[in-house]
Symmetry: D2
Amino acid sequence: MEKNLEPGRHLLYMEWYTGGDVGLFMKMNKILFSGQSEYQRVDVFENPELGRVFSLDGITMTTEVDEFMYHEMLVHVPMFIHPNPKRVLVIGGGDGGSTREVLKHPSVEEVILCEIDPMVIEAARKYLPTTSVEFDNPKLKIVNENGAEYIKQFKDYFDVIIVDSTDPTAGEGGHLFTEDFYKACRDALTENGVFSAETEDPFYDRAWVGIAYNRIKNAFPVAKVYMGFMTTYPSGMWSYTFASKGLDPLKDFNPEKLKNFEKKDTLKYYNEEIHVASFALPTFVKKLIGVEK
Amino acid sequence: MEKNLEPGRHLLYMEWYTGGDVGLFMKMNKILFSGQSEYQRVDVFENPELGRVFSLDGITMTTEVDEFMYHEMLVHVPMFIHPNPKRVLVIGGGDGGSTREVLKHPSVEEVILCEIDPMVIEAARKYLPTTSVEFDNPKLKIVNENGAEYIKQFKDYFDVIIVDSTDPTAGEGGHLFTEDFYKACRDALTENGVFSAETEDPFYDRAWVGIAYNRIKNAFPVAKVYMGFMTTYPSGMWSYTFASKGLDPLKDFNPEKLKNFEKKDTLKYYNEEIHVASFALPTFVKKLIGVEK
Amino acid sequence: MEKNLEPGRHLLYMEWYTGGDVGLFMKMNKILFSGQSEYQRVDVFENPELGRVFSLDGITMTTEVDEFMYHEMLVHVPMFIHPNPKRVLVIGGGDGGSTREVLKHPSVEEVILCEIDPMVIEAARKYLPTTSVEFDNPKLKIVNENGAEYIKQFKDYFDVIIVDSTDPTAGEGGHLFTEDFYKACRDALTENGVFSAETEDPFYDRAWVGIAYNRIKNAFPVAKVYMGFMTTYPSGMWSYTFASKGLDPLKDFNPEKLKNFEKKDTLKYYNEEIHVASFALPTFVKKLIGVEK
Amino acid sequence: MEKNLEPGRHLLYMEWYTGGDVGLFMKMNKILFSGQSEYQRVDVFENPELGRVFSLDGITMTTEVDEFMYHEMLVHVPMFIHPNPKRVLVIGGGDGGSTREVLKHPSVEEVILCEIDPMVIEAARKYLPTTSVEFDNPKLKIVNENGAEYIKQFKDYFDVIIVDSTDPTAGEGGHLFTEDFYKACRDALTENGVFSAETEDPFYDRAWVGIAYNRIKNAFPVAKVYMGFMTTYPSGMWSYTFASKGLDPLKDFNPEKLKNFEKKDTLKYYNEEIHVASFALPTFVKKLIGVEK
């Protein structure tokens, strides 16, 4: 028995991982928002350990306490490879965490955040102030469009494209995992353009890392999987794929740029060693994606 | 895995019964309200099976689909014993279900609903229309007072008093289970006055039925436990105690009055046979409350 | 957090009720048996509140602490109507609780317990001593047969038949809910024969009470639904159907026989008033089964 | 509802992480063992996704599917730094996974597995064949002693000591996190001796990483934290601490030795790049343990 019942300790959020036999549970201290949009179920609640938790269709997208791990790794790995990123497109990422990280780079002049679901933007603006903090930045433009369609109008335009999607099986995430979409991203990039995408966990969702990586590799001259801890995502072991029209995520990495990065103090996860180390993959992941037999 | 995730099937409400080792869980389809008042935690959500569910401090108070069982048994047993009930007091019962049943009796001229917590009244008005349906009835007066204090100002005034409290261990329910309170209820009743109180379940909360019954028996000349099914309360087996200054719940029961009851069609649980049968107690309950050795 | 983790408080048994959106959870203190038979999944565990819990396919069959409610109501209602029951058949009921109650009647000479699944008998013998206590009684014969087939060989033989089945949708319970089966039961009974069957709960499983009652009514001259509390079954509100070739469960009830019952002290639920009261049905149940419009 | 109930999907194992507001749940397909030893509660069950799961006091120790991540990182990082490890002590680690990895090194002549709880050894031998596979290897000696006491008798004896403990707050894990214990380990090592210990997750259990690291640093001339994914441990982000009397885990790492490692094909996680990368720490971990302000 909960001897001293604290608010909300009788309300449980359960995220069933792929297969449905394992998952994470969180107590819901306070429920801030719970709605059904045209695309998906949207929930925001508070957990004593994790702060505000944002979920789509029962899948955790963001928790206030650990979102930095994911957003820093997704964003700064490509952003520090491009020599001078000015125009950046973030597809998905309606909580605002990725655009917040992008806007730490002083060279950036224009960021487009293409989030399909207006309810996500509204909920983030109202209930997730730590990720949506830059929503009123004049450099940022928010559009509510299907990213896979929206990208097609751009050719040779963006310096960096970041795909911050939901799972391929959740909500509207699936169309952001096709080879056609990756090719459209490539075409929308400038010559020095770089790209990153979240490519799922290689443990519970093991098929998707390989599928996504190989599709990206077919679309781009350079493609490499990198990894980072992400404590409230399934397995805690998250994969990302870096791609580019030519720049290499290790050879073209300049630690000096990061050392002089004005906002360095705001980075809680990403650093010089982590940039390099994140491309070292456990043997089973190498086999899973086919870079080792 | 939930193959086709329906809205809210990943959110679980868990009610730990006394002791904390058994309880009921409900999926939360939609969360309508979730707040913390001065007195308690208040939640209202939708469950596909049970409709709207209203809970205080993680204890289920009302579900749209089965509240009639509880409210009909708590209210009509005393109301049909009193020959001509005009003035009725309901203590607790902020969802409005008990006053709705009281107001079905055409003799009633004045009903006071004494609910300590204004947040309960507001939440009921807004989210529980089927129980709060009579909140604007001119015969009804709602006061937000502590029932155990409020009752003291009345002497020889009410024809019927109904105690529709939360559990003695939850929220502010405890002060509605003292012998002083029951005596104050007796004093507030007219000569023909009758009384009923919910007195918990005799399975998980077994101590309380006997305690409450014996305190009521000390305060009133007539006191008898009766029971009814209440499907979403712990054990599904609910006890009530009838008391009066003289009227007997069986000898003074007039089935004719019920046969001619204009609102009879609105009763889904209570009927002539049930009135009588509800005073037949399982042997272990008789022993628990001390009416059989 | 469970401050002082007690054994097994991290293991949860969850029984999803019909529909899957509501259910009971129990902590598993100690797991005594967990097996898969030819017919069903069989689990026996200990719960601090409920003692030993026995479940088939995730549906609670018996808990040590409340099984008396169910077994007494299922067995003694028909047994006290028959003037002199000698031969009794229990179909299902492999935990032994029903045959234990049957064997309290001194007139009984022969009891057949027809439980399809030998694993249930073995598990009960080993882990449920309080229900299987009479398994070695020389008057008892245990057969592992499909009850729906086994019954066909008997004509005009049994004084009492008791159907103590699992749910129609669980394990092998379905074939014990057909009209052909009920007719075979009728044919296997002697002229004064009486019959009872568990017929599910009228709240979550609402269709089955009416279906079972009406099929039994088609097979027998006399058929009446009665009810009792059953705290760990879905909704806590359990229905049984009494049937006979002519005897009436109320008119032919002789309270004297019960007053003189030698084993009366062992009855914890059933008594004279309860026998009569259990045939009083809530209005919604009368409508559900069609005895009231 | 689980439309097609598969065995055991109604039984849930819940691991409450530190604080008790977040945790992992796993369905229990089949329960193989559930016992209470002198020291702790021991459970072994099967999960469709994770294979056999072994837990102590409700804390997951090993799952068949991901234990390689933990055991390879705990064992091979120190084993590949020592130039010629002959005598190895594993403290804790009763499932056998660490000793299995140790025995892959051909130089090893003697391994002592000091597991305090005989029930863990027995359960592992019987139900965890993939980790306990080397229990009958003649080079291995299993002793059931308190590691913190047992270590005191050795001076200048072991080449490698591996602390494979449970959590400091679970079972008997606490005494393996004291500075005295770490000093006793140092004294039991030979001149070239190396050491590793699991030092918890820096997210939920954040205090312990810093405490353990700083105590180890006080006891040893060289001490460095390294990290790896461990998918079913809290947060999926696991820390280990390497220590030695002088050898450095990076400067003294010889990738050639690993390239020529005969059992290389059996390694599923650990490889040359991972060895180096595992010492790159996220910024917040550096701050947590005090190596960066």
